[in-house]
């Protein structure tokens, strides 16, 4: 009875918002041809919700994508910066409140956020089979696109980019960067206060911790193959907590606190408080150096052992997006070789493309091959050599909680 009362209150309160019928629209949409979809999209506005903490990425959207999309399809793109988990929360709240006419048209995400969105049926799809650019230029059978941190994508998200985790250091202060966890630990000991990493609830901080997990677990292969369970994770992570507690006293501020976000770590690095920073994008330092935020002497390195975790990130459409046609049009545009090439350009984002080069014709291929990614980006060979795939998405929240218990709370 009580339950019904609350539900009623919610319905009455939100009745004004329920104007369109989502189901009907969806059925119609999957019957449309691509030309009909782009025609339908004309004049619409698409709201792209995405993490906004990287100037280069923001510039790619604002200076390149928004005008290009407007000109090609007459679709107005709006970039709304928000942390990805908050986007998912917002969507969950909309679903709870029965708001079928939503506010989000495209979400940029991967990993545990996708898992959560898919499990709670927050997404519209499958969408990839409706995107001509995906069919034409991508290896549709690739495992990189079929699984996202171990979660089956089933076409609910379209691959937008491919990145690898790298560290950046100031070469005027460090001659030889460490190449494995032992050397990193030794370096931290010799240079107290000059290294730290973002807290575990930050995307980058969590990825850093997964590198430590890879390096201290019994073997990376068992970690990747064995399905996630708390008992298994607890056993495999024992070495990780020992390692983290060992380096803690020599971290920035003696490990008393950690930067809450990557932006904060970058600020510490740019002000010279710490000598290393890190990020889940091998090219992200390029635009930061060009803007004078990072010192000119910034260089990149990866840990050869345990390697550098890489992943694919994706674009999805929420179940209640008010203009799905325009969202599809925009996503298709982002997947085209032109948009991907502009994304690779270091003056914007500088990020690698998930396109299959064997499917590109001469002109397009030459563009990708000739592009100079810049001095702070490691060579493709070095990146490929150290590449390791992502572990099950369930590790992300688990590490987040356990890190509080094992590392910071004592």
């Amino acid at each position: 009875m009580k339950k019904r009362m609350f539900a009623m209150a919610g319905v009455v309160f939100l009745a004004g918002c329920n104007m369109t019928n989502g189901d009907q629209q969806e059925q119609e949409l999957s019957d449309l041809t691509w030309d009909e979809i782009t025609a339908e999209a004309e004049g619409d506005t698409v709201r792209l919700y995405m993490w906004g903490g990287d100037e280069g990425i923001n510039r790619y959207i604002d200076d390149y994508a928004i005008p290009a999309l407007k000109e090609a399809y007459d679709v107005t793109l709006e970039r709304i910066p928000l942390d990805t988990n908050e986007i998912i929360q917002k969507l969950e709240t909309e679903k709870r409140a029965g708001q079928d006419d939503g506010t989000i048209d495209i979400i940029w995400m991967n990993g545990e956020n996708f898992k959560r969105a898919k499990e709670n049926e927050l997404l519209y799809g499958p969408i990839t089979d409706q995107l001509p650019a995906f069919e034409e230029f991508y290896d549709t059978e690739s495992l990189d696109f079929a699984y996202d941190f171990g979660t089956e994508t089933e076409g609910y998200e379209a691959p937008w980019g491919k990145v690898q985790f790298v560290f950046h250091y100031d070469s005027s202060k460090i001659d030889e960067p460490p190449s494995n966890l032992e050397e990193l630990s030794a370096w931290i000991q010799e240079n107290p206060g000059r290294f730290t990493y973002p807290a575990a609830d930050d995307f980058t901080g969590n990825a850093f911790l997964r590198h430590i997990l890879y390096g201290t677990a019994s073997s990376v292969d068992t970690l990747l193959e064995e399905p996630f369970s708390e008992e298994f994770a607890a056993g495999e992570s024992a070495g990780m907590w020992v390692y983290l507690n060992e380096i803690e006293s020599n971290l920035w501020r003696g490990g008393e606190t950690y930067p809450g976000t990557l932006e904060e770590l970058d600020r510490l690095y740019s002000q010279g408080e710490v000598w290393m920073t890190m990020g889940y994008n091998e090219a992200r330092a390029e635009s930061l150096v060009a803007d004078g935020i990072f010192p000119d002497t910034t260089k990149a390195f990866v840990l050869e052992d345990p390697g550098s975790i890489g992943n694919t990130h994706f674009l999805s459409i929420p179940y209640n997006s008010p203009s799905k046609e325009a969202a599809l049009t925009a996503i298709n545009f982002f997947l085209t070789p032109e948009a991907q090439l502009a994304k690779l350009d270091p003056q914007y984002w500088g990020e690698n493309t998930p396109i299959d080069p064997s499917k590109l014709d001469g002109d397009n291929l030459a563009g990708f091959e000739e592009l100079d990614r810049g001095a702070t980006v490691l060579s493709q060979e070095a990146l490929l050599e150290s590449f390791v795939p992502e572990v099950d998405a369930a590790y992300v929240p688990w590490i987040e909680d356990e890190w509080i218990n094992e590392v910071v709370s004592d």
Binding site: A9, F13, R116, T257, E273, P397, E400, D401
Partner: protein, 288 residues
């Protein structure tokens, strides 16, 4: 027209009531979320809440920071008004107090971070001037274990607030009572006990309540200037709400409902007591 005349107060209250309705609605919904689990209604989240060391330590940390910030703000603000109120009432003095009031807490927090951080303006200046061997020699005042940065920000923002709240009370102090006390042979102690304290006490209680409720539950300043562990309750609730684990969202609702309930109860109780005192004051006082 006549209807409007007779029910004017009710009409004027409508906007406030509508606003209140929204707050009550969200409180009820938040409470509903905190006792709803996939299996049905449950109080389990409230029980589990207090099994978490993270929360217990967070409560202790928040309470001590709140207590120190409120106590010092009220004490310093009160002292300033008490001894300088004629100066503050002048335009120059008013501006001095007003300036920190113009900025939001977040901006002021960021300002403190840029000013007092180890690589901040002051430490850089000392370093450049040769007074510090390295910037790290500067004391850790922001993002520190004791919440010094948080307390500094709150003091800087709340002392002016206390001053501005207390100023009218002091400007309207019934000075003629001073003469009565003098005639009856009383000193400054009697003046304080019989006139000043009864006069300002309701305002001070009100300020203390507002500041406690605000500081205990505010997010921005501790998020910016706090440390990774322990966190202040609002930061913890935010982490739970936006964290990747689904069931932690109910903890966030439970925690905030509990705080809202406790603060609401304290506020109601003290207003009930205050009103009685105000009523007595109005019965006993004279025209001035």
């Amino acid at each position: 027209m006549k209807w409007y005349q007779t029910s004017k107060p009710a009409v004027l209250l409508i906007p406030a009531l509508l606003f209140l309705l929204l707050i009550v609605y969200s409180l009820v919904m938040a409470f509903a979320e905190s006792i709803r689990s996939p299996e049905g209604w449950t109080w389990a989240y409230y029980g589990e809440l207090f099994m978490q060391r993270r929360l217990i330590e967070s409560l202790g940390y928040s309470l001590s920071i709140t207590f120190v910030s409120v106590f010092l703000s009220v004490l310093i603000g009160w002292a300033v008004v008490r001894w300088f109120y004629s100066f503050i009432d002048e335009p120059g003095g008013k501006w001095l107090v007003w300036i920190p009031m113009l900025f939001p807490h977040f901006v002021w927090g960021y300002f403190v971070l840029l000013l007092l951080g180890q690589s901040g303006l002051i430490s850089s200046f000392f370093y450049q001037a040769g007074w510090l061997s390295s910037r790290e020699a500067f004391p850790v005042l922001t993002q520190d274990a004791y919440g010094v940065g948080i307390i500094i920000t709150y003091l800087w923002k709340e002392i002016p607030f206390v001053i501005l709240m207390l100023l009218p009370a002091y400007l309207q102090l019934p000075k003629q009572y001073g003469e009565v006390i003098a005639v009856l042979g009383g000193g400054r102690k009697e003046w304080f006990k019989t006139v000043e304290w009864p006069w300002v006490q309701p305002v001070i209680v009100e300020i203390t309540l507002i500041l406690t409720a605000f500081i205990f539950t505010a997010y921005e300043v501790p998020a910016l200037l706090g440390i990774s562990y322990p966190q202040m309750t609002a930061v913890l609730a935010y982490d739970w709400f936006y964290g990747a684990a689904w069931e932690e969202r109910s903890y966030a609702f439970g925690l905030l409902c509990l705080i809202a309930f406790i603060l609401g109860a304290i506020a109601l109780l003290s207003f009930a007591l205050m009103n009685r005192r105000r009523w007595l004051l109005s019965k006993s006082s004279h025209q001035y």
